[in-house]
Symmetry: C2
Subunit: 340 residues, 2 copies
């Protein structure tokens, strides 16, 4: 598999580190992705014979951009130009999420699918805005679009719902999909911190961004919910279909009253009877979904399997990169089937 | 797919009910298993053109054995005789678990694999005693052996570990794998019942057998642990490799002391560094694996995804039958790949 990587932050770098340690294997299947190009905001590095991942990482570390590579560097080359230029089978799109217009990820994904590249992405923006259209585009071009890492980091939330519960009817889903807000709400409950102090603590620990509004307002949860709704529940929906309320108005008093009744205030994303919603809710501490700290949890209401809950870290560079590996392996397996 | 069903208790009957409601589908794939024979302890019913599941269920309900069918009934025919007699692609083996010698399930599974039937089973006995040999036999004969329903009922515990966490190294597993003992320990903790009272309550509710020793002594958990160890962690092991201690000696006093420290006594099955063990352990109530009532939970320690926990009902006829459907769908998909 020849792979183009666009975006080279923590996830992209973790991905290159993983494949630099030789092939990656699991379940008896080895995959040996060959990275032929990497692009970041400074340009790209391209070698159709295959780049040395270690060297790319080293140039990035030393110079700030992969484009500074003295032999293969292409300063100023954009991701879109790169896609029009290079021969490969797979785009790994890991630029940052932008929910205003999905760019530049949306254009990267579209161009790659049109060029009949399979696409693996961890970028929620393009999917939250246009997943039904992108899936159609992938199908039309006979290629695969995979995005395990967009929900739950390395925790296989999407796979569990779609493949693990194969044979079930998924009647509803509820989940805690954002680690930042869950950390804040947990600290309010357990340490009695007011929201703004808990937020500052989360920022100091690197759990929250300098501008935390995307997390706090529930938009990150809403993006993930849209992806679950499309992929697991086969609802054709986008971000505009989600009723969203964040945690900014949650008071310490509310949290304390909940606590006294054996409950926790959680930012819950739910898809039930076609309604998509993100809002603070009281969750019983006995509910398996009631996880604390930065953990994520999702409960599928499946018929006949019953309620199935999956819990894990929701983020992290190498965790999310492991989801990319999983997607690449599936692409290889599926593609082998189509060719055979 | 032509299917032979051997064993016709709650799981076998739930399976026939499911497929009697037309084909079964999920993930866009429909499967239409055609049941050509069903055997129970009284004999069998056979029609190579395909039985009517509703009629088979009705004869069972009315007469106690499927062999009473006036047209296709074969009183006294054993499962093994049936397997030597009938043409089919898949054996669904759902006779009761017997951990002494695995019989009659073990002979059914062996004979079916030798005859190049794929096998789907929910019977833990043959697997706990001989899984490595059975997997080799299946491979030698070019057929599949699947057993999703042996662990967790309809909760995809095995699938999550092997497929959902594809691309990870599974470094360890810990779980609560037996609903009966978990119910008893929960009632001891929450209602202050001594063990024997909690057991009687579980029996009255149908959560425990008249002879509860298989659950209480940890053997059911040990069987499931062996299956996880073989399938997910690729350890070649069998029941004799597990150090087992049940809950019979757990006192109300121990449970209360644990409770006071924010812990619960749980019957934990673990596979860590090649050691397989089942024993009562203190588990923090903050641990996502610390579920109550009859729930099951498993935590995989995966690298790099981190700890991933899956929680769900661990048993039930239709829940477990849904795992059979999943296995059949996978067999169909895999077989299509091999033929293509």
């Amino acid at each position: 598999l020849r792979v183009v990587v666009i975006g080279f932050g923590s996830v992209g770098q973790a991905f290159l580190r993983m494949i630099s340690e030789g092939g990656v294997s699991s379940s008896g299947l080895w995959i040996h992705p060959r990275v032929v190009a990497v692009a970041d905001s400074g340009g790209a590095v391209v070698d159709e014979k295959g780049l040395n991942p270690r060297e790319v990482l080293e140039v990035k570390r030393r110079e700030g951009s992969v484009a500074a590579d003295p032999v293969h560097g292409r300063p100023g080359l954009t991701g879109l130009e790169l896609l029009r230029d290079v021969e490969a089978e797979v785009l790994v799109e890991v630029t940052p999420t932008n929910i205003r217009d999905g760019e530049p990820g949306l254009s990267h994904v579209r161009e790659a699918l049109r060029r009949r590249f399979h696409v693996v992405t961890t970028n929620k923006g393009p999917l939250a805005l246009a997943l039904p259209a992108l899936m159609e585009l992938a199908e039309y071009n006979g290629v695969q679009l995979r995005f395990s890492g967009t929900v739950g980091g390395g925790t296989p939330i999407l796979d569990l719902g779609r493949e693990g519960l194969f044979g079930n009817r998924i009647e509803g889903v509820r989940g805690i999909l954002n680690g930042t807000t869950n950390y804040i709400l947990t600290r309010m409950a357990e340490a009695g911190l007011p929201l703004d102090e808990a937020l500052r603590e989360a920022q100091a620990l690197g759990y929250a961004e300098a501008d935390p509004s995307y997390d706090l307002e529930g938009l990150d949860s809403a993006c993930k919910l849209v992806i679950i709704a499309n992929w697991v529940m086969r609802m054709e929906s986008s971000l505009g279909d989600v009723k969203v309320e964040g945690i900014s108005d949650v008071t310490l008093d509310q949290v304390r009253r909940a606590e006294a009744e054996g409950m926790r205030v959680k930012l819950v994303a739910s898809a039930v009877e076609g309604r998509l919603e993100v809002k603070p809710e009281l969750v019983s501490r006995r509910d398996p979904m009631c996880v604390d700290g930065t953990l994520n949890a999702v409960t599928y209401r499946a018929e006949p399997a019953g309620e199935v809950t999956v819990i894990g870290r929701g983020a992290g560079g190498s965790e999310t990169a492991s989801a990319i590996i999983r997607d690449l392996a599936k692409i290889r397996m599926e593609a082998a089937k189509l060719i055979a």
